[in-house]
């Protein structure tokens, strides 16, 4: 229950560029699992953000400039400013039963994937990570993953500013051939996750875990704004991580989402 009550913390470190920043807060010891998220409330604007870093004491959220809230946070929030944090919320990636992971983060979907890789390396589980982004600077916050022995990390950028050019999905085949992957974890644009999943399905039938994003008003499972058609599941409380096999039974997966007023918007 305590995780549902908002508490405010001072941001003590801000990294990143003008398009995307990572904000850090000292929250002490909390039980947080990769895939979970927080509602972040800055100056009366609130949105859900995945945990992109947690070391047992400090938590980090990586925020991409997209619309009003994120613009407001990125342009105005400075070290010493308070954010209201509600969380951790939602479920998490299944990790216990697996030993060799393929992780794919597209765009700001890199945030939870970064934390997941950090976490897996800490418990010495092998993980191959593919990050895809518009431009390489948006992935800067993930670079230190390369120093982990358990992790192999590759980058794909649209603008050829990083390691590899092209879609992040290009890297999948090679890894699946080289590694005995026993689960795949995805977070990013739904179109990307669908292309990736279909590609993976051709090679292997390991479970594919997908972190979803939907418009959230409450983040705690009661307002109904994040529910998936027709499966009736709440992304905030039943997700955000769903099994691919379940997700493809939802008629909106990859096709549409709802906006703040509940109206359908096609992808």
């Amino acid at each position: 229950m305590n995780n549902l009550i908002e508490k405010s913390y001072k941001t003590f470190r801000v990294d990143g560029c003008t398009d995307q920043k990572t904000f850090y807060f000292k929250i002490g010891k909390v039980d947080i699992k990769p895939g979970q998220f927080y509602m972040l409330n800055y100056n009366n604007s609130q949105k859900p953000f995945s945990v992109s870093h947690y070391d047992g004491e400090n938590i980090g959220f990586t925020i991409l400039k997209r619309g009003n809230t994120t613009l407001h946070m990125i342009e105005n929030a400075k070290i010493g400013d308070y954010f209201g944090l509600t969380g951790p919320l939602g479920n998490s990636f299944h990790t216990e039963q697996y030993t060799n992971f393929l992780l794919i983060g597209g765009g700001v979907g890199a945030a939870p994937i970064y934390f997941l890789s950090e976490y897996l390396s800490k418990i010495n589980k092998k993980n191959s990570v593919l990050f895809g982004s518009r431009t390489s600077s948006l992935c800067d916050f993930t670079h230190n993953l390369k120093s982990n022995k358990s992790a192999t990390v590759s980058y794909y950028t649209d603008d050829n500013s990083g390691e590899n050019q092209g879609f992040v999905t290009n890297g999948i085949e090679e890894i699946l051939q080289k590694e005995k992957i026993d689960t795949v974890c995805l977070c990013g644009p739904e179109k990307m996750m669908i292309v990736a999943s279909e590609k993976i399905k051709k090679f292997t039938s390991v479970p594919i875990q997908i972190s979803m994003e939907r418009y959230m008003k409450c983040g705690i499972g009661i307002c109904g704004s994040c529910v998936l058609d027709d499966i009736g599941l709440r992304v905030c409380a039943d997700g955000p991580v769903f099994d691919y096999e379940l997700l493809i039974t939802s008629k909106e997966f990859g096709k549409y989402h709802r906006n703040s007023g509940g109206l359908i918007e096609k992808f």
């Binding site: 229950m1 549902l4 409330n41 109904g224 709802r258």
Partner: protein
């Protein structure tokens, strides 16, 4: 309760009702909640035109409940028709269409634009405390204004109409009576209490963008029990009793003071949508133990 209960002429297969505004935006979550054991499903209050609602944060949890100011967001009637049709076609729950209007006429027009085949009962939400800046006092503030809305709404549909009342104005019994006299087929009580406010002690800002929000959840149970008690004394039409119910004992208290059906909203936060199945099973067991019929329990406090 797993046998049929008649409420305002409509048969409910189970005696729990999903409160308006909770998981009531899309058909799919309403269907899911019916599977969780709700016998009636109230959708988020529908307004004639699209309403965005207040900007987030619109809801904050405190130790004893929730304050919310969703601000009556609504997709408007057209979309609501589709979502409700989905519920109507894909669940055995009674569909209660909650409607909201800024004027009496808007209530009427909204009901008229609703496809009458997609709902079983209309609920008039005249008691939302979260749009006071926009609309001033809720119509539920006096017998006169409440019954006016009821009277005008009456001409818009042949289906039963129930009125949702607020605990934030004195004499809820008198207001219920005025609604009954104006033709209401039932009463829903209570809407949220207060409103309330919570402050962040680091930023000194109210924790909701709307500053204030209605209080719901376990904190308000005694107020809801008292309100339903008062209403039962004042009217003969049936009552959906809600406000703070999280456990079977709460629902039994609510029924005992006069609720024909119990409602749950915020309780879902603590126990998920299965709360309906849990409470229904609990009530069945309780009735068996006490050797009571459901109908004997309704309003039994008044017969002591």
């Amino acid at each position: 309760m797993t046998h049929t209960i008649k409420f305002a002429g409509v048969n409910f297969n189970r005696n729990g009702v999903l409160a308006s505004g909770i998981l009531g935006v899309t058909g799919s979550s309403m269907i899911k909640t019916a599977q969780g054991g709700a016998g009636g499903i109230t959708c988020k209050s529908i307004s004639k035109n699209f309403r965005k609602g207040h900007p987030t944060p619109v809801l904050q949890v405190f130790k004893h409940g929730v304050i919310n100011a969703v601000g009556l967001s609504s997709t408007g009637v057209d979309n609501s028709n589709n979502e409700l049709r989905n519920v109507k076609n894909n669940s055995d729950a009674v569909v209660i269409a909650s409607v909201f209007g800024g004027t009496e006429i808007e209530f009427k027009e909204t009901i008229e634009e609703l496809d009458s085949s997609v709902y079983d009962i209309i609920e008039l939400n005249i008691s939302c405390p979260n749009v006071a800046d926009e609309f001033g006092h809720a119509f539920a503030n006096s017998p006169h204004s409440a019954s006016n809305v009821m009277r005008i709404a009456r001409s818009a549909t042949n289906k039963p109409i129930i009125v949702k009342l607020s605990p934030n104005y004195p004499n809820i019994g008198l207001i219920a009576k005025a609604c009954e006299d104006a033709g209401a087929d039932g009463i829903t009580a209570i809407n949220t209490v207060g409103p309330g406010m919570l402050i962040d002690i680091n930023t000194f800002q109210p924790k909701l963008t709307n500053k204030v929000g209605g209080v719901s959840g376990p904190a308000i149970l005694p107020i809801a029990i008292r309100a339903v008690y008062d209403i039962y004394k004042a009217v003969t039409i049936p009552i959906i009793g809600m406000g703070g119910i999280t456990e079977v004992e709460d629902a039994i208290q609510m029924i005992a003071v006069g609720a024909q059906l119990y409602g749950v909203g915020t309780g879902i936060l603590y126990h998920g949508i299965d709360i309906f199945n849990t409470i229904n099973t609990g009530i069945d067991e309780y009735l068996r133990e006490k050797n009571l019929q459901y109908d004997d329990l309704v309003g039994i406090v008044h017969k002591q």
